[in-house]
Symmetry: C2
Subunit: 455 residues, 2 copies
């Protein structure tokens, strides 16, 4: 429990935010203080819900004066505890920043309030045969502001890159209370430092996005999904590497294991589309202005090591294949809160890593179960461990050291949050972390923005 | 003239850099103190040529202690005076940072010393059927370090984006002397702030790149170039907008005028491939794994307003079409140093801008001649003015205000340098410039890096 907000502060916040902008009822606040996996739980005296950039700026200025720490929160779908108030910070919610601009068809861009969900932008874009280049399973909850603040990746990075690649304009309030607004969306614009790119991926520690302009991509008329079963990890990785080079319109390249498929079948009631069970599966999706089915078929036929393949072109059948991959997180979560580690490994080290990480985990916690899946097309592996303490530092330590030894990243797309702070030094040098701290002090001199995250 | 370097400093630099790393002969230094257009000329007591990141760090540390300002210089091909010592600064040259790593075929990346020229990387990449995604006419002199420091654009941005999009790793020394090194090149790596992206485009004011890792792109076997003549600017712009949407493998979309073509023919001895002279020309280049000639032909045939078209598929013929565009800068320069303004305008304002900018210039300096060309596919127009003072602020002021009024950028790809400092406020708010200054103070607290540039 935390003390209630003093009347003086309540009045000040009400003046800035209005009655719909301030939540202080503990039962209402409760939903904002825990992440969806249940792993990170904190407390807060108030949820602040500004409705404009000016209200965000005034809120941050007030918090600076009063020395109040804030945790920016979008859809709260993160996995590293980056959007939960850990020690009584106030929650700065983007839920009321929901303006969705008209899509400019000529330059395929749109200006979006930070609190708009990915699904809402996808829907608006689809009406003009356009698409958001970043997609992820949490699309109905994840907000664009949160996705930019964390440089979200997801399933289509192999084709389009991460959010930073598509951020063409921003409006944000930095920790000093200054508003930096540059929403023109010009493709070429070398007029100073890339503040948008700096804030992107900073996990709310430097500033708060209120609105962003993002580039959309064409939504091709044809799309085909194939799920291939492999008898061993090397064949699966060789196929992934070959397909990346051979298929220019490759939208996704996702890997998961036979054990994962069995879990989804058992827990989520999905049907196994295969005759046999295989050790590894690779889901590949290709799109095009011409029907790519034949080309994909040729490429798959020419790939050694495929034990069985299922192809889907019709949206319902494609969605069923995707559900085998996308339901995996929830199915694992249903076994109890897992320890979740999101890492990336260089292509040359992937086979070694996938082959040994389960043993490394079991050596630390005998009986623990390691689930491997992820966006293998860009080296991104989600390591989930069940049957061990989800906060168990020994398992995380062993896995992250293995990653660092192989030249990988201890956080591919989820960020550092609070969960990986103590291992940041495995991926970043002391000099880099020192420079990060200098940048943090500059843009958030009072340390009020997400103070327990990243550094 | 400047005083020679005191013996004490000479000895200190020699200790760090060795005899090949320090140039103090005034006749040798002279070539480092003027830009290629002859517009920006300064002076210096020494050119420092470190051969490693450690030598760069030691040089910057010494300069910090001694309060000596530095101008980082790559190929010195910039156009805004960003790499010339204006008030006696020392020149920090990257010419000896020429290590070119082996290209990793699996992830299509390469680690390159800052002083390696674009042409050298292009040549190494071509041997593996890969290409550098940014290309520009100064490729034989422009260095990769300079291109990253200025976020270079060039002719292929319409397809691939600017340098920042392809920077996947960096090693740099910031103004504090700290080395930030992150060369792993992982596609997904959310472990802290994007320092590489922040330094990219900072024009040497925050740090000095010593080595970068860049992503390469496939070099497709087929490539076709067409040059189309148009009777009016609206038809040309409509064609450019349509082709951007209709041709997914569009590599370049360059515009220039009939007057520009006539100048290149007269000054550079190039042959005019057309029967008639036209008001505007659009050079379009398309590549593909299948021969795109027929598809381009169909698209061109379906485009209204084309008066005449020349298509080239053979490398020599393609190069001849490109020379009509690429020789334009030199041909204009031969008329005497021009006033060069590099701007971008939103698609909706381009016709108005191209139609009026010549009149705006002539109203300020009657008899001045305005040459328009550029990467029209991304709204980037190079405005060159001859017959006026190349440093004439009145003309620049009139043009840049016109750009800003239309929501454009006062610097599309050349950067701010010293040339556009006084107009930065047209594209950036006071709050943004204030934040830029804070970032500058943080990473270069003594203000020794390129002190006369940008801010």
């Amino acid at each position: 429990m935390v003390d209630p907000l003093p009347d003086r502060l309540r009045r000040s916040f009400l003046e800035i935010l209005g009655p719909t902008g301030l939540l202080t009822d503990p039962t209402v606040i409760d939903g904002y203080t825990v992440d969806w996996t249940g792993r990170f739980r904190g407390s807060s005296r108030a949820v602040l819900r500004p409705g404009s950039t000016e209200e965000v700026a005034a809120t941050i200025e007030l918090c600076r004066r009063e020395g109040l720490a804030l945790v920016p929160q979008g859809g709260n779908t993160g996995l590293v505890g980056g959007s939960v108030p850990h020690e009584g910070e106030l929650v700065l919610s983007s839920r009321r920043l929901t303006a969705l601009g008209a899509i400019d068809r000529r330059d395929a861009q749109v200006t979006v309030g930070a609190g708009v969900t990915l699904a809402a932008v996808q829907q608006a874009a689809a009406a003009l045969d356009l698409d958001v280049p970043v997609d992820l399973a949490a699309r109905d909850s994840a907000t664009i502001g949160g996705m930019v603040a964390t440089n979200a990746g997801g399933t289509q990075v192999v084709r389009w890159g991460t959010m930073r690649h598509h951020l063409v304009g921003h409006e944000a309030v930095v920790g000093t209370g200054q508003v930096v607004s540059h929403l023109s969306g010009l493709v070429k614009d070398n007029t100073g430092y890339d503040l948008g790119g700096l804030l992107c991926g900073s996990e709310g520690t430097l500033g708060v996005f209120t609105s962003v302009r993002i580039a959309l991509v064409p939504r091709p008329p044809f799309r085909v999904t194939a799920l291939c079963g492999f008898a061993d990890v090397e064949s699966m990785l060789d196929a992934a590497a070959t397909w990346r080079r051979a298929i220019p319109e490759l939208d996704a390249l996702e890997a998961f294991t036979g054990a994962g498929l069995a879990l989804v079948v058992a827990r989520a009631g999905r049907a196994d589309p295969f005759r046999d069970r295989h050790r590894w599966y690779l889901l590949v999706e290709v799109s095009g202005r011409q029907d790519p089915t034949d080309h994909l078929g040729d490429v798959v036929d020419a790939t050694p090591g495929i034990a069985e393949v299922v192809v889907a072109t019709e949206p319902g059948a494609r969605a069923r294949l995707w559900s085998l991959r996308e339901d995996l997180s929830l199915a694992i979560n249903a076994l109890g809160p897992p320890l979740k580690l999101d890492v990336s490994v260089p292509a040359g080290a992937a086979a070694q890593f996938l082959g040994t990480v389960g043993d490394v985990v079991a050596a630390v916690v005998p009986g623990a179960r390691t689930w491997l899946f992820g966006h293998i097309g860009d080296g991104n592996v989600h390591v989930n461990v069940t049957g061990a303490d989800p906060d168990g530092e020994a398992v995380a330590d062993a896995v992250l050291r293995l990653v660092a030894r192989d030249g990988g990243s201890i956080s591919a797309e989820h960020g550092i949050g609070v969960a990986k702070k103590r291992w940041l030094h495995l991926s970043r040098s002391a000099a880099e972390i020192d420079v990060f701290r200098s940048v943090k002090r500059t843009l958030d001199p009072d340390g009020i923005l997400n103070p327990h995250v990243l550094l």
